[in-house]
Structures are given as C-alpha cells and as structure tokens.
C-alpha cells in the first residue's frame, strides 16, 4: 500500500517535470523572448544586457532549473500582450472558471445520478428510452453547438437569460463572485448547462450500466425474496454499490470540465482562464500559455492522484491486485 502510494506520487512528480519541460521549451524556443520584449529600436548592448538579465546565456539545464524554481513560486514573467505579470492575470480570472466548473460539475453529478437511476429502474419505459436516445445525440453534439443552441432559444428567441458575460460580481477579498447577485446567477445558468451536459450524459450512462449490473446480483434477488420494498432495494442496497466507480469517474471528469471550460467560456465570453488561454493561443502569448499549462497540469495531476487514493480507500477489493499487478 505504502509502496504503491510512493510510486504514484513519484509518477505524478515526473509528469509535472515533463510538462514543465514542455512549458519551458515553449518559452525558450517559440519565438525569441528578446525580440518579444525589446522594441524596434534596440542596440546590441541592450540585447546582450537583457540576455544576461534573463539568464539566457546560461546552459540549458540551468535555465530549466531556474524556470522550475520560478514556476513553483508562481512567477511566470510578463504577458507579451498585456505587459502585466501572468500570475496576476491568472488569479484575477480563476474565480470565474472555478465557479462555473463547480456549478456545472454539481449539475452533471446530481442530474447524471438521478437520470441514471431512473433509466436503470424503468429500463423498458418510454421516457427512459427517450432519455437514452437523447443522450446518444448529446454525445455527438459538440459543446459549442449546445451553447449556441441554448443562446438561440433562451436569449435570442425567449429573451430570458443573458447570452454573454458574468453579470454583476461582488468582490470578496481577492475573489470575485457571481453567486450573490441576481444578474450573476442568471448569467451562470446557460454556461453551466452547456458545460455540464456532456459530463451529465457520461455519468448517467455509467450509473445506468453499473446499476443494471448490480440489480442482477444475488443479494438483490434475495432482498426481493425477503419482501423488502422496491424503493429500499433500489436506493439503500443497489445505489450504494453503484457509486464507487461513479465517484472515481466524476473525479477524473473534473479535469476535463476545466479543459472544456475553454470552449464554453469562448461561446459565452465568460471572463475566466479558459478564454484567457484561447486568446493567448490566438496571439501566441507564450508566457500565458505556459502558465496555464502548468496550472492546469498541477490540477489534473493532483485530481488523478486523489482519485487513485480514494479508489483505494473506498473499495477494499482492489487493494490486493493493485499492489500486486504492475501499473
């Protein structure tokens, strides 16, 4: 068990180092940093001085080490486009993305579990079949089309909800929240649904499959034979055993929610880190891209690690073959 944990932590550290190398290589080799920082009117002395200041005359390994050292301290230099420290810009934008990701994650989890249970219990019902078919279409529907469709129906045609931005936000410490104003909550509805819908279909299908599997087990049949009410069997006996894989998959999906937020944020012009990243890609703003990459990989890697540990803690059956069998 301990050996397994140590190996997983070491693996995660390795992943971060590799990602760091990619981010550093972007910094160093995509475009000339000197070119980007100094304007047209520069002398050779300026170039030399900056090269020395930035440490660009030192060996590659030393530069990489310096880069990592800075990155750990949250120092990613200045954005080429805005001329401000990248860390400041990221911190300013982060609350918007986290709030969006939180709400859509919650929506996906609750909606997915509820619909999954429903479609599993009413396996042959008409409504359940309609839901299943809709979910198949939902998987093929690109996120941005869902967003556009929602904007068209609820903003353009019905005029109920805003189509872009965050509405009014309230500043609490360094955190700007949209939860406390009416316009902020209204602005959250469409992006949250857009972002959560795909994950919701995934969770729903997973819960359904697991639930159908569990309902076939002997102990469920035995419970039925004992005359326990359907409601109690479904929710107390079956659901509990369904939730183990659901928790882990949901954990892993959290990462992709943050990544897919890029698309949703662009459709709704939501001022989060995803929109920041896509603008950085458009304008080749390397420091922002590198910092976003590092930030998101730290998130992904820690989520993966936690989920793996959780798996261990929740399901005792897995302990034996996980420690024994390779990967």
């Amino acid at each position: 068990m301990l050996a397994y944990i140590i190996r997983r932590v070491a693996q995660s550290a390795l992943v971060l180092l590799v990602v760091g190398l990619v981010a550093f290589a972007m910094f160093r080799f995509v475009g000339d940093p000197i070119e980007n920082m100094l304007g047209q009117e520069r002398t050779m002395e300026d170039v030399e001085r900056l090269r020395e200041n930035l440490g660009l005359d030192q060996p590659f390994v030393v530069q990489y080490y310096k880069f990592l050292e800075n990155a750990v301290q949250g120092n990613f230099g200045l954005s080429y486009r805005q001329g401000r420290p990248v860390a400041d810009i990221l911190l300013e934008r982060l609350p918007a993305t986290l709030e969006l990701a939180f709400v859509s994650g919650l929506l996906a989890l609750l909606g997915g579990i509820a619909l999954g249970i429903f479609t599993a219990i009413r396996k042959r019902g008409v409504t359940a079949n309609i839901i299943m078919t809709a979910s198949l279409i939902g998987v093929s529907l690109p996120t941005f089309l869902i967003g556009i469709l929602l904007i068209y129906v609820f903003s353009v045609e019905l005029g109920w909800l805003p189509s872009f931005g965050r509405g009014q936000t309230v500043q609490i410490g360094g955190w700007s929240t949209g939860f406390l104003t009416q316009s902020g909550l209204q602005a959250l509805v469409l992006p949250a649904i857009t972002l959560g819908l795909y994950q919701m279909t995934l969770i729903m299908r997973l819960v359904r499959t697991e639930m159908l599997e569990v309902l076939r087990m002997d102990y469920i049949r035995f419970a039925r034979a004992r005359g326990i009410k359907d409601r109690a069997i479904n929710f107390r006996h079956a659901l509990k055993n369904t939730l183990v894989p659901v928790i882990t998959i949901t954990g892993l999906q959290l990462g992709s929610i943050i990544a897919f937020a890029i698309i949703t944020e662009t459709v709704f012009q939501w001022p989060g880190v995803g929109l920041l990243f896509i603008n950085a890609v458009q304008f080749v703003d390397i420091p922002v891209m590198a910092a976003y990459l590092m930030m998101i990989s730290v998130m992904f890697v820690s989520i993966n690690l936690i989920v793996d540990m959780l798996y261990f803690a929740i399901d005792p059956r897995l302990r034996v073959d996980r420690t024994a069998g390779g990967h």
């Binding site: 941005f144 353009v156 698309i263 990243f277 890609v281 990989s297």
Partner: protein, 319 residues
C-alpha cells in the same frame, strides 16, 4: 473496409464471385440487418461525395471574388434578392457568398483535416504500439509512459497547445496557408494514444501465438514479423477506433476552428462557418448559422453511429 473479415464459414464448393462472397459474408450480413448503420452509411457517403465533387456541384465558387456580388449579401434561403433578383437555395452570408457552396467547400476542408489527422494518428499509434508490444523492455516503458502523460490531458487541450506552438514557430506571413496542415498535425498528435494502447495490447497477445514462433524459427527479421505477420492481425480494432476517431477529429477540427484557432476565414471549414454564422444569430440571419451547424451534426452523428455498429460487428464478444 469492405473485404476485411471474410467469414470462415464459406463453403468452397462452386467458387462464387468475389463481390458475392463479400456480400454474403458475416460482416455484410450484419450490415444488411442494421437499418441504423445503413442510413448512417448512406448519409456519410452522400456527404463525402458532395465534398469531393464540390467544384462540380457547387453553383458558385465562394473563393473567387469575381463571381461575388456584395449586393447579394444576406439573401434569405429560397427568396429572390431585393436588389439583384438572384435566388439562392440556402441563402447567402454577409459578403453575398452562397451558403450552400461554402458548406460544400467547408465540408471538404473538414473532411480532409479529419481523414488526414486520423491517418496521422493511426500511423504514429500503430507503429509505436507495435514496437512497444513486440519489443517490450525499456522501449515499451518509455512509449507507454509518454502515452500515460498525454492521456492525463484531454486531447482537445493538447491539440490547442500544439496549434499554439506551431503557430508561434511559423512566420506570420505563412500562418494562414499553413493553418490546415498545422490543424492536421495538432489533431493527429493529440489522438495517437488510443491506437498505440490497443495495438500494444493485441500485439502482446499475438506475439506468443504459434505463427509468430514459426516465423521466428525460419529466421524472419523482427521488422518483417511485425509488419507482415502481426500487423494484419491487429487491424480490426484499429479500424473501429479509426472510425470513432474520425468523428472525434471532425468535431475537434470544428471546435478549434470555431474558437478561432483553426481554419482561417479565407479557407473556412464547417467550424469557421459556424463561427461566422454565430455573429448573425442576434440580427435574425439564422440561415448563415443553421445550415453549417446541421451539416456538421449530421456528419458527426452518422459517423459515430457507423462506428458504434462497426465495433459490435467486428467484435461479437462485446455485444
């Protein structure tokens, strides 16, 4: 695709023609009895043909400025333009380009990028998967670790990143020309892991079978064993993944182009067209958005359904 898994139940009696043999194989039998697969295949076929023959079908050349008339801008579908009296089957966009023609040409780009990206991913993935599975040892460890690291990130994010880096490397004046190739590279590189994993897994099973032992004994080189003996036996799952990857690649391309980090407006793909159309959603010119979006959806959905069927047909155990 058609003659991949011929059934073994063929009776060799009067030697039927090749076409007939294929038609009567298990594979085709399963196809003939899956209405969803037939409809999807027809939709895909029609769309692909329309894209390939776009220059012949399209009533206008949307990229030839000489044929454009700005007065024709914003003509609703099927109605005569108030100034020029011209009618357009699916209407025109802001610059007076025929929407039907731009969709045909856009689909051409979407499909080209999709097919090429999957081909690239397949080439990289199958090669690395074969090598990892057959050679084992540290070669395998390195390849599979890289795959694991990449799998930590959603492929659309990897594609965006590769696009951004490649854009930074290409000089500004070539960026628009190179955009299509950069897209193929980005999507292809973001998608090889699936192929590598499956091919490695199958190779691990295949390499211990007797025919491989036999090939080794007669002194075949490792390279030729991998290429001539193992490769043909791992192709079924590759075909399934390729189909599903194609739908994903087309969606990925559309997403990137929609986000403005893909095909440029001078060479619009379906995603770029949707991006352009979105601007006119609020002012009521719905056709500029709706038709490209519907085309993309039809394309992605039917390829997905075809892939679903193919997975079941080629692997009866999964049913």
């Amino acid at each position: 695709m058609t003659d991949a898994p011929l059934s073994e139940t063929q009776v060799s009696a009067p030697a039927p023609s090749r076409i007939k043999r294929i038609w009567e194989s298990d594979f085709m039998w399963s196809f003939r009895h899956a209405p969803v697969a037939i409809v999807s295949a027809i939709v895909v076929l029609v769309l692909v043909l329309a894209a390939v023959f776009a220059p012949l079908i399209a009533p206008f050349d949307p990229f030839n400025p000489a044929t454009l008339n700005l007065m024709n801008g914003f003509t609703p579908p099927g109605e005569a333009n108030a100034f020029t009296g011209d009618t357009f089957f699916l209407g025109t966009d802001d610059q007076g380009r025929d929407v039907f023609s731009t969709i045909l040409y856009g689909m051409r780009i979407s499909l080209f990028v999709g097919f090429s990206a999957v081909l690239l991913a397949m080439l990289i993935g199958v090669t690395l998967g074969l090598i990892a599975g057959y050679l084992g040892g540290w070669t395998e460890s390195i390849i599979m670790r890289i795959a694991d690291v990449q799998l930590t990130f959603p492929s659309i994010l990897v594609a965006m990143l590769i696009f951004g880096i490649a854009k930074g490397v290409t000089p500004a004046e070539y960026r628009d020309q190179m955009a299509i190739w950069v897209l193929i590279l980005a999507i292809g590189l973001s998608d090889w892991v699936q192929f590598a994993r499956v091919v490695r897994g199958t190779t691990l099973v295949e390499k211990n079978k007797e025919y491989v032992q036999a090939a080794k004994l007669i002194g075949r080189s490792r390279f030729s064993i991998m290429l001539r003996h193992i490769l043909p036996n791992v192709l079924n799952p590759v075909l399934v993944i390729a189909t599903i990857s194609l739908a994903l690649a087309i969606i990925a391309e559309a997403t990137l182009s929609f986000l403005g980090v893909g095909a440029p407006p001078t060479k619009p793909s379906l995603g770029t067209l949707i991006r352009i159309g979105q601007e006119f959603m609020f002012s009521g010119e719905w056709w500029i958005l709706l038709f490209p979006a519907a085309t993309l959806l039809a394309l992605a959905l039917s390829i997905n359904l075809l892939g679903d069927w193919l997975r079941d047909a080629l692997n009866p155990r999964l049913r």
